[in-house]
Subunit: 396 residues, 2 copies
Amino acid sequence: MRGVLSDSALGRQVNGQLVMDYIVQHGPISRAQVAKMSGLSKQTVSELVLMLEEHGWVREVGIVQGKLGRTAVTYELNPEAGYVAVADIGGTQIKLGVADVSGKLLEEVRIPLAAEGQQVADQLLHGINDLLAKNGIRQDKLLQLVVGVPGVVDRQKKQVHHSPNLPALQGGWLEEQLRESLKTQVLLENEVNLATIGEQWKGKGQQHGSFIFVAMGTGIGMGVVLDGKLWRGARGFAGEIGYMPVLDTIDPMVKQRGALESVASGHAILTQYATLTGQPATSLPEVFALAEAGDAVALGVMDSVAMSCAKAIAATATVVDPEVCILGGSIGSRPEMLVRVQEWLGKMMDEPLPVEANHLGKSAGLFGAIALALQAVNSRYFSPQHTFGEVVIPSA
Amino acid sequence: MRGVLSDSALGRQVNGQLVMDYIVQHGPISRAQVAKMSGLSKQTVSELVLMLEEHGWVREVGIVQGKLGRTAVTYELNPEAGYVAVADIGGTQIKLGVADVSGKLLEEVRIPLAAEGQQVADQLLHGINDLLAKNGIRQDKLLQLVVGVPGVVDRQKKQVHHSPNLPALQGGWLEEQLRESLKTQVLLENEVNLATIGEQWKGKGQQHGSFIFVAMGTGIGMGVVLDGKLWRGARGFAGEIGYMPVLDTIDPMVKQRGALESVASGHAILTQYATLTGQPATSLPEVFALAEAGDAVALGVMDSVAMSCAKAIAATATVVDPEVCILGGSIGSRPEMLVRVQEWLGKMMDEPLPVEANHLGKSAGLFGAIALALQAVNSRYFSPQHTFGEVVIPSA
DNA sequence: TTTACTTCGTTCATATTACGAACTAAATGG
DNA sequence: CCATTTAGTTCGTAATATGAACGAAGTAAA
């Protein structure tokens, strides 16, 4: 029981994880079935299921009759084994939610975003505590909190960088405060990355091991999933394609704001339309309406933005070669944008990368946060570092 | 002994792999030292080392005296446990080599490249057989062959695609012929990817878990290493940045040849110089000499190529966020190109990605092939699929 | 209703693997 | 020459997984 991987409890870990997986994935299932599918012997499975049951991770569901042979007792993941909280700090509001370990979202609330950093932290704290109270969840049953932020997250230092829309979030204070107040593990994650994980879990990414998710809204960002794993980059900067150089001129202003973002985003649509017409910038829905009505300038702007977006996708495709690109965000999810991007990609690439519309819309972020939280919980309680399946009170 | 991960031999596999690693990494080492470092008990280590010795993977080196305490018997990787062959099919010649499992290159030869596809295959076969014979290596001791090819390799189908300079290599016939004739496992791999693995193993990549390697020669290509693993892409197309769109015009010809390759490569230097001067294209060394002598046109061409290259690197940096970029290839490894690329990157990026000159030069490909071959051998003989460390005769 | 059959799940004897403690071996160093 | 130190082995014990046998609890059919 000393060495890192030395004792035979390693096998127990692996097999326990395996049995847990079968129960989670294949819903109510009998021990005999798990044994058949996993190749483990029946008693080993029985032992492991007993252990999982004692720790509260699985529970008996019922019995299966009607088939030939003895009645089978079936087991499933115990949703009450624990809970996770998720938050998504957007441009104008905060979305909050609690989910159980089966991934079921129990409740969701939206709060208008406060102006100041410390107020935002308080909003998160109170919001989550309210949700826990209303759903009768004890604090020690809260296993993980995941917060989506509009910025680059350094996972090692647990700090937020490059958060132009909400500079108050920068640094590591938010994570620390939430962790200490809620007495649970806290993960901060870039909002586009969360939406990407969401699409992977419940959206178009399910069929694909490697894909990119491009979110075009006010700004533009990307999530990169390679072999089923989100790639965050050496400094958490992966997918920040707003800074991708696509112009031929090198403009110091562009370097600041992000080269691609200045030509492929909601912001770009407004500026370009204003510049071309000489009129002060109108609203985005207005430009879209004008384009649909056949306005030449609006159509030209749409096309130019689609081209820049396609260029970024094509460039990315040569670097990481994904199976597919999922296009999302408030602009990117519009069908007229999707077709234009596809058209331009066809002109740029010999074998154009398939581009699909996203599936989850605005909920992708929260779903992704739940998925990430469950991943974290899973790797925490079923990794070789811990005693098998034992629920420890998560704290610093 | 039935289930996939079911029997306790799994632990044996893991611990055997662990002990093997310590012996390989820490040179001549005693069993007591391995026990201390790994956390395994002394007898477990003794058992495993005995097993490894019986299978021929390790051997006794000698004894350590002079220190306090009993003499220690030290062990090391047995270089004669097996051999790998490597080949690099270049533009004008084939490089061949054989190495032992310790990674030591025993002999290297160069052969002028034959004109026709089947002739190339024969050259490989005869060349490798000659090398084996000269170095007294029995065919059943040849555990792996790795061949570097100038094209995109589909690992699932074991086929070569997009090989414009050597179209005869396309398809899966080469792998099949080599495997059946040499009766060993064969891996084909893109030459830039091999150079990347080479830099990772023995070059600048050693200090970095995630980096990109840009090879600018006649054409331009890139290798992507993320968290220590070469990323090949869904179809083996990752890093084919020759096709990256960087121009503002969409030219069907450019789509064919590759947009970036037409502005950032040896080929581009020649064409641009010829266009600007109106003279027929000169040779590359000539253009470099002119630039050094202060010729304005030559300097302009250099700068323009460096800018395009920097743009591709900056674009890649926003997508994968590597720690560093290693610049190589016959053009890229020139210091005057390196500084220019660094200069341009400074203008394009807020926190410019560090760019370093490559370390291994033209041998990177062969080194990478050896590293890849050893990886393949390692995962073959020490993976849970096989009986621990048992040498099986590799065949179809 | 009884009997045969099928499948679920447990009990039991056995094999593998790892560990720690005790022991032997072989050197150094005064 | 003997204490000390380190290397390596022997041996008893504990954990884990297995397969075979067995008991349990249903269906199917005579």
